[in-house]
């Protein structure tokens, strides 16, 4: 074994000391300092931690750090290496149950500890999943395939295309539903692009993750997994959806349309919300309750469209007051082919940007407008500014969310460089990314403190 592995994570003084006593990580030792003795196992150390301390797991299970230059002696009794394995049990096959494929891309839905970084790393197999969430076997015959092992911020066009192709392959093979385990940070980007790449799917495609990693007892991972697998196996909703907690309580999950969903809190369990509309359905352990009936229904045929295209020369510009024209110019000069602006209010930017936008149009860069308010439509006829911008070739995208517009533009440009065709694609609704109308309950952000809201919160577990 390499030295790096033998003294995992240690460097500097601490590494020197361990080497001098030949004390490898996982050694069961007694460490002597001038004032006391410590008995325990030498643990690997996080690589970002300082080079001065040795980490010891004591018999009580606690870890402590001892400064290397205080250590006089290390006596080694033995070696006890930990294996972080979830008990693996073969996932049982029950004839007659729906077949569900679970694709893994990474994220905390299935994860374990990594000692080098001290962080949580993705881990995943049907056996492991069955070992930790045996309830899944009551729902379906589950198969899994690990497509990627990345955190969600590292998902990109390559992974999106790969995932779409993998889904297509499974649909053709006759799967009854698809679940995709995904980190939550960019789950809505992936949900949106898959909504465009796989069209007219005959089966549910459900994205799922967790906000509390599965290495903790209060994790939402197990319940999310149960909800999503149930949806994939049993629901009649043949769309790309995100399945995550409705409230922070362990009560039910929500099925959000892949193009209308967004992560809205950095850490809450109930972080995903449908924006500008209501979710498709609620799901709990026992039932799936549709909240609307305009969704695409499950079919037995296998006719669907796979459009795995993406041009990554697209950017998103979040407008702020006093933005300078060079921001747009730089993008254009760097060869970007498409720009999505998240404008203020109904879809506005300031005048100093006008020349740059004009230039972009002249150089065949597609520029589209969305709103940074997230809720509501880009309505550029209302004010002069909007009309000016449209004059400059900026095209409003109704109530398409900025991130959705971003992946859609990349997808459109991946299919054609003809900006008229691109415009045609952008303004056609394929998967509910723009809606004709916004129901008033599509915008409900309760304001805490108001008596009737407080009454609701105090009686219903949210």
């Amino acid at each position: 074994m390499e030295e790096k592995e033998l003294y995992k994570g240690y460097r500097g003084k601490a590494l020197e000391l361990l080497k001098s006593f030949n004390a490898l990580v996982w050694s069961d030792v007694e460490v002597k300092t001038a004032t006391s003795n410590f008995i325990g196992i030498i643990l690997p150390r996080s690589e970002q931690a300082d080079p001065n301390h040795i980490v010891l797991k004591m018999r009580t299970g606690y870890n402590i750090g001892i400064r290397a230059d205080k250590i006089k002696e290390i006596t080694i009794f033995g070696h006890k290496e930990a294996h972080y394995k979830i008990p693996e049990k073969e996932f049982p096959y029950t004839s007659g149950m729906p077949r569900v494929m679970l694709f893994g891309t990474g994220g905390t839905i299935a994860s374990r500890l990594d000692y080098r970084t001290g962080a949580v790393i993705p881990a995943f197999s049907p056996g492991e999943l069955y070992g930790s969430v045996p309830e899944l076997a009551d729902i379906c015959n589950l198969e899994t395939e690990k497509l990627y092992g990345v955190f969600s911020e590292n998902m990109g066009p390559e992974q999106w295309i790969g995932t779409a192709k993998a889904i297509a392959r499974e649909i053709e093979k006759g799967v009854d539903g698809i679940v995709i385990g995904h980190g939550t940070d960019t789950m809505h980007h992936t949900a949106a692009i898959l909504s465009f790449m796989i069209q007219n799917s005959p089966v549910p495609i459900v994205m799922v993750g967790s906000q509390r990693s599965s290495d903790r007892p209060s994790s939402d991972a197990a319940l999310n997994l149960i909800h999503s697998v149930k949806t994939a196996a049993e629901s009649d909703i043949a769309e790309v959806m995100v399945c995550m907690f409705g409230p922070t309580s362990d009560v039910y999950g929500l099925l959000h349309r892949g193009t209308r969903v967004r992560k809205m809190h950095s850490s809450y369990r109930s972080t995903f919300r449908t924006i500008g509309d209501i979710p498709i359905a609620m799901v709990n352990k026992n039932m799936i309750k549709p909240l609307r009936n305009d969704y695409k229904k499950r079919r037995n045929d296998r006719t669907f469209k796979l459009l795995p295209y993406f041009d990554d020369r697209v950017s998103i510009v979040y407008y702020y007051p006093n933005m300078k024209a060079d921001i747009i110019d730089t993008l254009v000069d760097s060869g970007y082919k498409g720009i999505i602006i998240a404008g203020t209010g109904l879809g506005h930017v300031n005048k100093p940007l006008y020349p740059a936008l004009k230039r972009a149009k002249e150089l065949d860069v597609a520029v589209y407008m969305t709103v940074q308010t997230l809720w509501g439509y880009a309505q550029m006829y209302v004010y002069d500014t909007g009309r000016d911008l449209m004059e400059l070739g900026v095209i409003p995208l109704a109530n398409m969310l900025p991130e959705v517009a971003y992946v859609k533009l990349g997808w459109a440009l991946g299919q054609t460089q003809d900006l008229n065709e691109v415009k045609n694609i952008m303004l056609t609704t394929y998967a509910g990314e723009m809606t004709l109308r916004e129901p008033s309950n599509g915008y409900l952000i309760f304001q805490g403190g108001i008596p009737e809201v407080e009454e609701f919160i105090s009686t219903i577990k949210k």
């Binding site: 931690a49 004591m58 870890n63 001290g118 949580v120 290495d215 903790r216 007892p217 805490g448 105090s458």
Partner: protein, 642 residues
């Protein structure tokens, strides 16, 4: 060594001697939890120490066991999972934020709390760790919404002095966040209030070096006084709670959790020792009957149909409810459910407790057994069951009832607990009860439940930080007592002073201002009590103000009475200012005052003539309080003919 457990019979509590405890190999250690006096909670910025039963919202969660970093499931974790509880948290916006709800990652550890923990560790001469690693300790009972408690070792080792130059050694001290307060636990629903959640506390763990129940209580008192003497811990109900570990020779280390008062410790530890001893005797009895772990035989069956017309009401009600009745047959166990375990408590309680906790059947009675035939079910019903189960005269039958799942879990658990009797004392944590006995709480968790907290980096205790605390630390409680003793302060006032926040002020007054120890102790301890009765709060005075006042006294600008008077005036005034200094009484004024008072005395009707002098004194003092020494005035008054 072969022990004959029948050699020794437990005597009543009062009659047990030190030798008796030695004979059974009584050993006990403490885990003392003490909340720290900080402004904010340990891992978030919620205010600390605000308690209220009122709440604004509720959330609902479940707990699932996870793997430890060594890749093992913990026994407690699996047990709690078996119970399948719905957990409700009551949330008050003012005391709880999204951190405690487990919807926001932790913030860095409260530095103030860590400093206090280090300081207290230093009092015990413990070794402070160089790097504090925050661990997650799993608690699947739901008492913490994350499912784990964030906890970290601050120091290892250390000791405290006990009688006759003995020292009790400490294993370690950790700093951790407090858990929720339980509101109720009925069936599959447990309710918690979250106000206490996240409060910083330290856990001091002693070696199991206490040899009698009384010693356990004594040592607990020393620990409690030591931490209180720093003035940096919380006091009042729930601010300090202890877990007591007890074992006897051949027994198991059993943790009695949540002991609310130190006075309960002797009775609790006595009863636990008795329980272990009697369980070991039960094991021997089983062995004599030929029942061991390997030969143990039991089974259970559904007997709902047979019990349809039961005359035992809990069962007839259960059947009417659509519940199931299960009969467990324990081969060769005749009369053993009536085996005495603790004071007025029998082995059947061990079984009933398990059924209550694990199967969530918490309406009592939750079992009935054939060893107690007379009290409950008619013998005709037992006969039917005996026949159905194929039970012999030597067997015992236990009935349990509940819904499909709970009755099943209950029956299985009865068998598990009965089988454990062949091994002896199962590893459990037990709950302290008011009558001094204890009940099953959960399976004892092991080190498997600990794993590192990946949300927070380790904290290095720099030499600078270490030295800063070390240099400002006051003496340990026991050293203070010795010191006050040497100053001839009486025992009561010494202890009160040592526990007060004025130990430092006291030393300044005595050593720098140079007033007598007795007067300093009087000002700091006795006088505040008097002021409290008058509705005045002595603690409103700062140390500087107290020193300034005493310095005036020492320089002769104030008389003894003047010191007290100015303290009184300063508190009323809101702060000490020099114009509050009483002007000493001139001879002219005194003459006038005496004259005035004499006039007044004449017009006063006095019934008890012996009190005349006292009344006269009072009349003068009304205007001269703090401006003339009472002793001096008394001398003058004595000379006057009234």
């Amino acid at each position: 060594m072969e022990i004959n457990y029948f050699d020794f019979d437990f005597k009543p509590f009062e009659e047990m001697t030190r030798e008796d405890y030695e004979k059974i190999g009584f050993k006990s250690g403490l885990e003392v939890h003490q909340q720290l006096l900080t402004e904010r909670k340990l891992f978030c910025r919620c205010p600390a120490g605000h308690y209220s039963d009122e709440y604004n919202a509720e959330i609902l969660r479940h707990m699932r066991p996870t793997l430890s970093e060594l890749g093992e499931y913990d026994g407690t974790a699996l047990m709690e999972f078996k119970t399948k509880k719905e957990i409700i948290y009551r949330i008050n916006y003012d005391t709880v934020c999204t951190y405690e709800m487990d919807d926001t990652p932790p913030f860095m550890m409260n530095e103030q709390a860590l400093d206090i923990a280090i300081e207290i560790s230093m009092l015990y001469g413990a070794n402070i760790v160089d790097e504090v690693h925050i661990a997650r300790k799993q608690y699947l009972d739901g008492s913490i919404p994350t499912g784990f408690q964030r906890t970290a070792i601050v120091s290892v080792g250390g000791s405290l002095p006990y009688k006759n130059n003995r020292r009790i050694n400490l294993i370690q001290m950790s700093i951790e966040e407090d858990s929720c307060r339980e509101v109720s636990d009925i069936g599959h629903k447990r309710v918690y209030i979250t106000d206490r959640l996240g409060m910083p506390l330290i856990e001091t763990v002693t070696e199991p070096e206490m040899k009698t129940p009384q010693e356990v209580a004594d040592v607990n008192r020393i620990i409690s006084k030591t931490v209180k003497s720093t003035g940096k811990v919380r006091t009042g109900i729930g601010a300090a709670r202890e877990d007591v570990n007890v074992s006897v020779t051949g027994g198991t280390r059993i943790e009695i959790k949540g002991v609310p008062r130190i006075e309960l410790i002797p009775k609790l530890t006595y009863n636990e020792a008795m329980r272990q001893w009697n369980l070991l005797r039960l094991r021997e009895e089983l062995k004599n009957r030929g029942i061991t772990e390997n030969t143990f035989s039991a089974k259970y069956d559904d007997v709902t149909k047979l019990m349809k017309k039961s005359r035992f009401q809990p069962i007839s009600d259960a059947v009417a409810n659509g519940w199931k009745v299960k009969c467990v047959l324990l081969r060769g166990f005749k009369d053993l459910l009536r085996w005495k375990t603790q004071t007025d408590t029998f082995f059947s309680r061990e079984i009933s407790d398990r059924v209550r906790v694990i199967a969530c059947l918490n309406v009592l009675p939750n079992i009935v057994h054939s060893d107690s035939m007379s009290e409950s079910m008619p013998s005709s019903e037992w006969s039917i069951l005996r026949k159905f189960m194929g039970a012999s005269e030597n067997d015992t039958m236990v009935l349990v009832w509940g819904d499909d799942q709970d009755s099943e879990t209950g029956a299985k658990e009865i068998i598990i607990r009965a089988k454990e009797a062949t091994i002896g004392v199962p590893s459990e944590t037990r709950q302290a009860l008011d009558d001094g006995t204890n009940g099953f709480e959960r399976i004892l968790p092991g080190p498997e439940r600990m794993y590192p907290d990946t949300d927070l980096p380790p904290i290095v205790i720099t030499e600078e930080r270490f030295n800063k605390i070390k240099n400002n630390i006051s003496k340990p409680f026991w050293d203070k007592l010795t010191y006050y003793n040497s100053l001839n302060l009486n025992e009561k006032i010494s202890e009160e002073l040592a526990l007060s926040k004025y130990t430092n002020t006291f030393e300044i007054l005595v050593n720098k201002v140079k007033i007598t120890p007795n007067f300093a102790a009087f000002i700091l301890i006795e006088f505040p009590k008097r002021l409290k009765k008058e509705g005045l709060d002595f603690s409103l005075l700062s140390e500087q103000e107290i020193i300034a006042i005493c310095t005036l006294y020492k320089s002769g600008k104030l008389i003894r009475e003047g010191v007290l008077e100015i303290i009184r005036a300063s508190i009323s005034n809101g702060k000490y200012t020099e114009d509050l200094i009483p002007v000493s009484c001139s001879e002219d004024e005194l003459t006038n005052r005496l004259k005035e008072a004499k006039e007044q005395l004449k017009s006063t009707k006095i019934i008890n003539l012996t009190a005349k002098e006292k009344i006269f004194m009072g009349l003068i003092m009304k205007n001269l309080r703090g401006r003339i020494s009472g002793k001096e005035l008394h001398g003058i008054v004595k000379e006057i003919k009234l």
